[in-house]
Point group: D2
Chain length 364, copies 4
């Protein structure tokens, strides 16, 4: 970690759901000090507390369970497209993909940009970091800077459905090798955002068995994040991933039924041990937003359940249960995992990534 | 079909959910005439309309969307353990497994018993029929009668989660061969019955990722139903089935995400064609409870959805969608299916099975 | 009824939820023949089947449980603002209030307009008809025509929450008089439409205790519909109505807990009798969309329930239960009612109103 | 408060939902030390951690969001009917009403019993305390002791639906007088307990508009709690209460739409001020489980909402919103309140009551 002074950060897209989650994650943060908020032109010039108040009804449009840290209510919201970064060390962005394509390059020209948007996620020179998983991909940062002529860089997080899957796979991949992955997700409605979001009319007493582009994202990202850096590019991890992604009537927490073929036979106990051991080095870093475990295995037969388990370690742990042998895939095992899509799977996970990059010197 | 006279039938477990569904399915039935109703001793001696009335609150405990056929309200409910079958040709039973073990042999000693209970489902001499799928297993009936010294026989239906899976697999198995099946189910709460049933407190905003014994049932039954008869026994179909069964907050309709490895490469169009062709002979029988299709494939990208599709053909069709290639299993394909667990998956499916066995002469 | 020929009708707003419900209600209608469909400019020029297909996903945006009547799929959708009515006798409109203000006068200048929009609902010269309730208000039609110089007229239906309340009150008002009404509603999400609609994220495991403007609408409309015509205006019914309107996580069917003070003491049996007798004359008209009862009282203690009772008589009956004495209001009684907000409370109710107006000669 | 030593307490019905909530509320409690746990004979002799483990599935039957305080896992569960109280100062009971009738007199003969059961709630010599509301009823304790020959006494809490209503009414009653109350409740499923509880099948996409005996309880208890002590009896508060109680698909938190007629006209601001002032003296006691406010009024137009507001002050506050004038009741006002039925409305509220009685010397 380069220095001990607090980094001065800007949060872009601050009035939206993910932006507000950034604010909750950054309130009283020991390393990051929010200096600037930005959003679309419509909110520009208003105090944040005013910008999230609906004019016609008088309702406050604050979407987090946690209250808004008081210090942000009087910050002025700036126009994201005109944001000046002279006094900013780091930007967190939480905007739609189309907007990200426009504003993230403006920021990345000057400072690191930690993003929840997918705009640059699939570019060859853009690393997709997960804490404790692929810090070795940080060499790509220089590739990106050189290619694009930026002083900063853009670092998008993975899709929320990828997050828990990769956290569960990484220790198995390292210890036993993986030959194939089949996964069916049952995803929470909060993952769809608020605009358009999922209508109650469409999901009550129902399942929607298709989420556009989601399966491709999970498949591609899993192989990329677990891929090996080869000079200036990432070679995707050499196993196939096949998914069916569905939406269910759950507020928060993505559940995934995973079937994994391993390169090397492993007992169920060895697998549980791999999960216990998997992130020891990372946890020793004791980052401010890091949970005490990144994966938590439970032997309770009816768990994990989204309502009961999503808030374990404040939504920063992937909770795994129901580990069993599978008789279809080679050396197959199967399990169920739960990952909080709007905590580790979104802004708070991005803050942890930023901490990780600071600690490891990727962010100066 | 042996004769044209109506068979006289008894419905056992008539006051419960599945029993009531039998009554709805048998009201005005052209081939079956309900002569006797039976239930536990507690209800014995009461008229049916009285037996389903809660004494303390005065509420009617009728659980079907359809009203109770009027002709049954004044039938007297008899004690299931003392049911006399002298004027009965066929018994439908809808009782818990423990009770089935006691009463079904009493009935099967005299007449055919079509059951929704699992009590005898895994016995080697007991066929598990699905309409249009495995009438060739009927040779087991004689094996059963000889071994047990019965004049009748017991014919239990499959678990409700097995039903849609097998209907979807059968045409693929016949035409392309199957090497492996991976399936994750998202099952409706009605599948758990009413006692104890699924508490709202446990499933609201939640998923329960474990249903005791369900996965083993689906795996065993699928191989049995698609198995080949070899003299006096069934050789299970020679492919592995691996499942994760979960409960979701849906009233009716089991959704299943299926991944299938085929013996022979098939295009998606060939698979759709196999589904279209698969049950032609069966449909030509024009049985009273048969739907116009046993499987219905839809190209609508967001379907099947339980609330929108479970009632297609009055819940007697397996609705399939989202057929895609899978890159993990050999010649892999994947799809999502929906099957109505309390219609084709329970009593009404059992009535269709009875019709099938009558038509094909297995029931005299 | 003026003549026996079918009226030629146009449906405006045909691609939206309420418009589609009009189409379902008008398919094979004996008196009304749909000749033209209209919607916003965006859909104009497309065949209806094409207009409801989402371009990016390929999904069909059809929102009714019933399938779309085949005859409409190939009708061309016209631009609502340029609709020519030369061959049209009657228009059904199902558009937002802002659009209704623009297009309904264009149509009403020539032909009668039956509307689900609130745009003109509170104008003094506009009657708000409910079938069987206030045909005497039809004298307002001529007032409206004279004042506005129209050959047709506009006839908006009441808010969906008003409908069941008024159907339950009318027989009591006629027989016993009413001094006051207190009502708390628990309204279904379908009442909010699809745009913006109610997000699952906002209503799952939740209640939203405020629906903007709803309480005022119910209060005003109830007094207007039950008001007396005095020459060229309606004198509101002389009792106060006080409401709290809430949104609950139910798909269809508004539940209302009603407390009524009566002018004259009435026994519970007399009240039930009033409901049984209340609409006899109307029911004798045997209109094509009329249910066998407009109100249905049930003594089942746990009813009415939205999921179990909303579809009684295809959603065209107000189901009432739990009639008890109330000890707060003078001669007080209380009860719970259920009314299907998107059937009788919307398009199908509007079609019944149109039939009523035709039968009674208000529509020529 | 008589002494500073910790009271030694027993928790009876410890394995059930309400009993577990007592344990959560009593973990690390500064005044109360749990020495004994009791339950039915079935659990007797087992360690608590073992008693809540389901034998067949291995699942832990722990029902609270908070984890079980570790110190209780190894306490032995005793048979409630044989519980010895020699070393116990106070008993908390959380058993069904039938069991309470048997065991509570056994305990009350020796020590004070704070109960969530309704068994003795309506007896003339039994006070029903709410913190900050009716400590003057404590004179009844001696009446009860004398009449029944007990050294202790039984103090049952009110029904969970009564709790929020009375907290909201008390400040209005004191300052303006009340002439009448009309209330419609929308109650959470957790209020029905787990056995039998509310089946998902019955409440999903539904409302159940009847909860047996609930309306009578709320009406009677409200008048009793707000009644005046006259020598050895309570004269019920002289206003009528009329309710409709319904069950909705919400996990925790009872919502109530309240209409109140006042003896004296009050502006909305005066009413808000009454709520702000109402419990000042009680809050000054700074009891360990007391929230910073007993009632919290919010001007947010769409609040209170159960999911967003039930956990305010850890479920110990009644959250009120939507205060408006009502034009039906004399000097009428109406509002919506939310009260956490399993926190303040159950065990944790009972612990606060016990603290209150200790502080005020009713418990020695």
């Amino acid at each position: 970690m380069a220095g001990t002074a607090q980094r001065r950060v800007a949060v872009v897209g601050a009035t939206g759901v993910a932006g507000q989650q950034f604010l909750v994650s950054l309130g009283q943060h020991p390393w990051f000090k929010v200096k600037r908020l930005a959003a679309s032109e419509r909110s520009a010039g208003k105090k944040f507390g005013e910008a999230i108040r609906d004019q016609s009804s008088g309702a406050t449009r604050w979407f987090c369970d946690e209250p808004c840290p008081k210090e942000f209510l009087n910050l002025e919201v700036e126009n994201a497209e005109k944001l000046v970064l002279d006094d900013i060390d780091l930007v967190f962005t939480a905007v739609e993909s189309d907007a990200a394509k426009i504003v993230e390059p403006l920021y990345a020209a000057k400072v690191p940009v930690i993003s929840t948007a997918s705009a640059f996620r699939y570019d060859a020179d853009v690393p997709v970091f997960l804490p404790g998983v692929n810090i070795d991909h940080s060499a790509l940062v220089k590739v990106q800077q050189k290619k694009r002529g930026w002083k900063g860089f853009v670092s998008p997080g993975p899709n929320c459905t990828t997050v828990g899957l990769v956290f569960s796979l990484k220790p198995l991949y390292d210890r036993f090798g993986i030959s194939s992955v089949i996964m069916t997700s049952m995803q929470a409605v909060s993952g769809a955002g608020r605009s358009p979001g999922v209508l109650s009319y469409d999901i009550l007493d129902n399942i929607v068995p298709y989420i556009p582009k989601e399966e491709e994202k999970v498949q591609t990202e899993t192989q990329k994040i677990l891929g090996k850096l080869d000079h200036d590019r990432i070679v995707p991890a050499p196993f196939n991933v096949s998914c069916t992604c569905t939406r269910v009537n759950v507020i928060d927490g993505h559940t995934e039924a995973v079937f994994v073929g391993l390169q090397k036979k492993a007992s169920l106990d060895e697998i549980k041990q791999a999960w216990r051991d998997g992130y020891k080095d990372f946890l020793k870093l004791e980052l401010p937003s890091a949970p005490p475990e990144l994966v938590h295995y439970t032997d309770e037969p009816f768990r994990p359940q989204p309502r009961l388990d999503r808030n374990l370690h404040d939504g920063m742990a992937t909770v795994i249960g129901r580990l069993r042998n599978d008789n279809v895939l080679p050396n197959g095992v199967k399990y169920v995992l739960l990952s909080h899509n709007t905590k580790m799977g979104a802004a708070k996970g991005a803050v942890l990534t930023a901490e990780y990059l600071v600690k490891r010197g990727v962010i100066a």
